[in-house]
Symmetry: C2
Subunit: 150 residues, 2 copies
DNA sequence: GGTTGCCTTCGAGTGCGCTCGAAGTCCTAC
DNA sequence: GTAGGACTTCGAGCGCACTCGAAGGCAACC
């Protein structure tokens, strides 16, 4: 049961930039084999959600003799990657498309790149929206809970 | 029909910071009376959505003799404010709560302020998420449509 | 006076992303 | 050997924020 160590790892890495990269999964001593509960603790996703992601084809997860999921580093890395994209509101359909392209082999790299670049634009747009909204909220706060229509 | 002039106004203000503030509604020559179609053109919301916002109590909109909505400046200002909050993913329930507090009078200013400050924290959190995701996507783009698990 | 077109209400439907519950299996500890 | 708990599959349900369609009203123009 590695969950306790993982909890520590999560605490020490939380808040850093980037807060849980794929590189961390590779470089830090994340175990080669993880249960679904371990991955849930690591990523903050629920086990239900992890099963859902597998069900809709975003990850393939090996099983042990009893049919239980055994997440290897590749699976964990992919889950982490997916959560990063989800954190930026990338639709699951787009992530699924990306994963599909990866499965199809290296010929699809241009389309993958295009997909990522389109998403990059989305992120930049969202950033601008949020900064605008932040300005509005800050204005309201500094001028004291104003009349809402104003 | 003021829609054409509004279109021009929208074009000239689009992309500025902040891109359509409540102040613009007050200061620029936005007409005193607007139809639902005008407000839809101004805000980018659909007429359906505008009716929905009214239905759930986010705005009150005066009517003409025939029962049609006539948006005055206060109503337009509130719709613009709501869209700014929605752009930052503030849940409709929270916006409704805020509007409710405004209705209840000036005694509720502390709670309004608390609500805005909580939302401000949410926005900052979302900004960090997005910046992290942007870093991941940029990394993927610069290292060429990598293997997705990586 | 008909047609066009935007407006009205009301209720139901949609899409997304989970989220849950039931029923059963398997390993571990006592 | 049995109790507990974490796991499995499957399908259904949920919450949010719209989104749509039907059926009808009113005004303006030809």
């Amino acid at each position: 049961m590695t969950t306790d160590r993982l909890r520590g790892l999560i605490e020490t890495t939380a808040g850093e930039l980037p807060p849980l990269t794929v590189e961390l999964v590779r470089d830090l001593e994340i175990p080669e084999q993880m249960t679904i509960a371990d991955v849930a603790a690591l990523t903050g996703l629920s086990a239900h959600t992890l099963r859902y992601y597998e069900r809709i084809g975003l990850v393939e997860v090996p099983r042990d003799g009893a049919g239980r999921r055994v997440y290897d580093r590749e699976a964990v890395g992919r889950v982490v990657f997916i959560t990063r994209l989800r954190d930026s509101d990338m639709p699951i359909a787009a992530i699924a498309r990306y994963v599909e392209l990866v499965k199809q082999g290296p010929d699809t790299e241009p389309e993958r790149l295009a997909l990522l670049e389109a998403h990059r634009e989305d992120i930049l747009h969202r950033l601008r929206d949020l900064q605008g909204a932040l300005a509005v909220v800050d204005y309201k706060i500094t001028t004291y809970g104003g009349s809402c229509g104003s």
